[in-house]
Amino acid sequence: MMKELNLMQNPYQDDKVIDACSIFGVMDTSGKRFSGEGVIRAIANMHDRGNGLGGGFAVYGLYPEYADLYAFHIMYLNRQGQEKVEAFLREKFHLVHTEEVPTRLTPNIVNPPAVRRYFLEVGDARPEEQSADDYVVGKVMEINTGLEDAFVFSSGKDMAVFKGVGYPEEIADYFCLEQYQGYLWTAHGRFPTNTRGWWGGAHPFSLLDWTVVHNGEISSYGINRRCLEQYGYQCTMQTDTEVVAYAVDLLIRKHGLPVEILAKVLAPPLWSEIERRPPGEQKLLRTLRQVYGSLLLNGPFTVIIAHHGEMIGLTDRIRLRPLTVGVKDARLYLSSEESAIRLICPDLDDAWIPAGGEPIIGSLKNPLQPGAAAGREKVLTAVRKI
């Protein structure tokens, strides 16, 4: 029963769901859309980092014809679930278009749920004081915690998450992802340790158009979660990845902090290092740690966070999980292993391993220029602006 989200995701009621993985992301910073074929090959090349219990992708710039509409992707266990949710959507939104998400028979994909997508406009049902985004988040939570046998796993505009139980290349095959085009793709191969895997539990995790893919285990999860609960987030999935998604939503969407500052909250410099910075910066960094100390993500992690127009790679501050960056013309690649990047782009302009806690940001606002090793400096200067 899908409503028992905890039980689906965390059937044994462990402290949290522990998993680890391979992650990959590629963004064309000029906004040019491209097919998922390369991303699929890249994540499949890191097959051994997962264990076949979860794979997924996020794609941006996916539905140009419906770019202004919220694109809900919903999995259903049965017909009744679908009927109830569709009635709910018609009541709360203006439903512009709906269709089944095309799939093909794939040998190792067993018992898949039915998956449909809905292009929705926020209509009159929205209370005036609430923003459209907040309204959508509320409705997603309502479906996911209140309606039986249905789960919304993607709800942003002009983007989608595709995920399920299987190796990522199998999930891609199942959802025919080679046929889609986007300007930004992230991908994930999962190695969960305490669940046989549930479709909704695969990565990426998403909220509106924010998505997170994550490698590692966040040892500070207990307090990160309690901190976010104070701000009204319900951590229904009991995973550390969910906590990253909510922390990003809180700090960027609600508290209006820039991405570079977000990185300094999630992976702050050591106190000893803060003390060596110039006074102004010292004050900023000290204040961030004092205020957001409970959101410090401690323990090993690499995340790729994405939303429209931006892709951010970040590792923990003592870099216990790997991340390699590749640059080719306007494209930025992030990957757990360099070989996955090289497989689909052998002649990179530059490739390097960023320092722990140093964010790598690709942005449509700041496109990479074609040309030799300028890539690294471009990416790094954009970050060091702060």
Binding site: Y12, D14, D15, F191, N194
Partner: protein
């Protein structure tokens, strides 16, 4: 600085029995006994007495008695004598309190609350002295099913398996922590009894190569002594992640214990500290464990089972599931009461969970996930007798490791001074004067005797239950009942209340 610490014990000498033979002087490694030649008098001072009873055991006339120092503090349930004395020690040294052996605190021992079944009337018990009673156990990954080809031939290829004649192995104890004579005793006893001993992370002494067929070699965070020949010799290669006595922390074998010989097997220069980092620095995540498991499988050409040992901690069930999926053929769980040659006391006594609960939840979880057959489970940490062994197997273990029990068989009196390197019984020391107190001929004999006694007892218990093969008991929790346990404890253990 004058110490405010009172002596723990008082040594009493019956002067009528004492013949001034000086055996006690020679035997005490803590310098408590002396002979005053001028006055022709034996003297004892108790300040350093650890209560190891070496002098008592070896006094030919029974003239010595060691008693607890009856120093009485004012009753205080919170500030108990041990706590007061620990503070005194730290105030005088400013250091981390070290200790040896396993947790000696009063956390519940679940073995004592589990009772075994026997056959009466409805099915017959079996007499093991005259009828077959099988204890053969194979460690290693088992496939999902057996495949038979059209011509009736076996098509299934088994992953490497290791046969045990008795489901009791010796825990990992490194050379350096224990002496070479202790390791030789363990290796010879394991070979004679058809079981395994474990090098720990101190490398393998060439003298013991001849027992390699019964040797588990460890690859731990310090990678001491890990080289191609070491991996080749092993019957099983064990990745050590953690240890019940000190989950989550590394270790320092102090330079003074790194003798020339110890340095040789560890493959480091003599006299340097052998530092074992807290984590294995190539394992920061579950997919990294998979990477090292398969690195070892590559290095040993897929010919040996790879074991992974962890300390029993809060999320053991989830971690164990990940370990099995990461390719471990054997998983070893070491519980709260697991012992050590040296560990910070605060860690030993406060970190981890009891092995009984960890075993029950790991076995249950692996079964719920349908992957129990993909790895064998070995447990350790406070197994005291054959009753504990049988209960562990009924809870779901394939085999158990014993460390403390084996050392007690060699003479250990649990005085908890392992970390001082002064073990008067010659067990946990590299002082050559002391190590020769363990004679491998006698040591092996004592260990074989212990295992033989336990084997006969295990067979008796099995026979009483009416089963003649150990696999009929393995994971068979219907043969267990609980007493004095609450509902949560019974649920986690997966056993019913006695009488139910």
């Amino acid at each position: 600085m004058k110490t405010y610490l009172p002596a723990k014990f008082i040594i009493e000498r019956d002067l009528e029995k004492c013949i001034r033979c000086e055996v006690c002087v020679n035997q005490c490694s803590f310098d408590n006994h002396s002979y005053d030649a001028e006055d022709d008098e034996m003297r004892s001072q108790s300040d350093n007495c650890a209560g190891c009873h070496r002098c008592v055991s070896f006094c030919p006339t029974g003239a010595l008695t060691v008693r607890k120092n009856p120093i009485e503090y004012r009753d205080n349930y919170n500030w108990r004598p041990e706590i007061i004395e620990d503070i005194i020690k730290q105030a005088e040294t400013g250091g981390v309190l070290l200790t040896g052996m396993g947790n000696d605190k009063g956390q519940r021992i679940y073995w004592d609350h589990l009772l075994l079944n026997a056959s009466q009337v409805t099915n017959p018990s079996i007499d093991p002295l005259r009828e077959p009673m099988e204890m053969t156990t194979f460690l290693g990954k088992k496939p999902d099913r057996v495949e038979i080809g059209p011509d009736g031939e076996l098509k299934t290829e088994m992953a490497p398996q290791v046969k045990l004649e008795v489901p009791v192995m010796f825990s990992a104890m490194s050379y350096g922590a224990v002496s070479i004579n202790v390791q030789e005793s363990l290796a010879r006893a394991a070979t004679e009894m058809g079981t395994m001993w474990n090098t720990g992370e101190g490398g393998l002494h060439p003298k013991l190569y001849q027992y390699s067929n019964h040797t588990i070699v460890q690859v731990a965070s310090g990678r001491f002594g890990v080289h191609p020949e070491y991996l080749d010799l092993a019957r099983i290669v064990e990745i050590k992640i953690g240890q019940g006595a000190k989950p989550g922390i590394g270790g320092h074998l102090p330079g003074e214990k790194v003798s020339v010989e110890v340095a040789t097997t560890r493959m480091i220069p003599p006299g340097t500290d052998a530092l074992s980092p807290a984590p294995q620095h190539d394992i920061y995540s579950i997919e990294d464990l998979a990477q090292l498991v398969y690195a070892l499988k590559e290095a040993t050409h897929y010919e040996k089972p790879i074991s992974v040992k962890i300390a029993a901690v809060h999320n053991s069930a989830a971690i164990a599931s990940g370990m099995v999926r990461a390719g471990a053929d054997i998983i070893v769980l070491d519980g709260l009461r697991g012992a050590t040659g040296a560990a910070p006391k605060i860690i030993r006594d406060n970190v981890g969970i009891p092995i009984e609960l960890a075993l029950a939840s790991v076995d249950s979880r692996l079964r719920q996930e349908g992957i129990r057959h993909r790895a064998s489970i070995v447990i350790s940490g406070g197994i005291r007798n054959s009753g504990d062994v049988v209960k562990a197997i009924a809870l779901g273990a394939d085999a158990v490791n014993i460390g403390t029990a084996a050392l007690v068989a060699l003479g250990c009196h649990l005085c908890q001074q392992c970390h001082t390197g002064k073990c008067a019984w010659g067990i946990c020391t590299s002082d050559l004067f002391l190590t020769k107190r363990v004679n491998p001929d006698i040591g092996a004999r004592r260990l074989v005797n212990l295992l033989r006694g336990w084997s006969m007892e295990i067979k008796d218990i099995l026979g009483g239950m009416g089963v003649n093969a150990l696999e009929s008991l393995r994971g068979n929790r219907l043969h267990l009942r609980g007493v004095g346990l609450n509902d949560t404890e019974l649920r986690i253990l997966g056993v019913r209340m006695a009488g139910d």
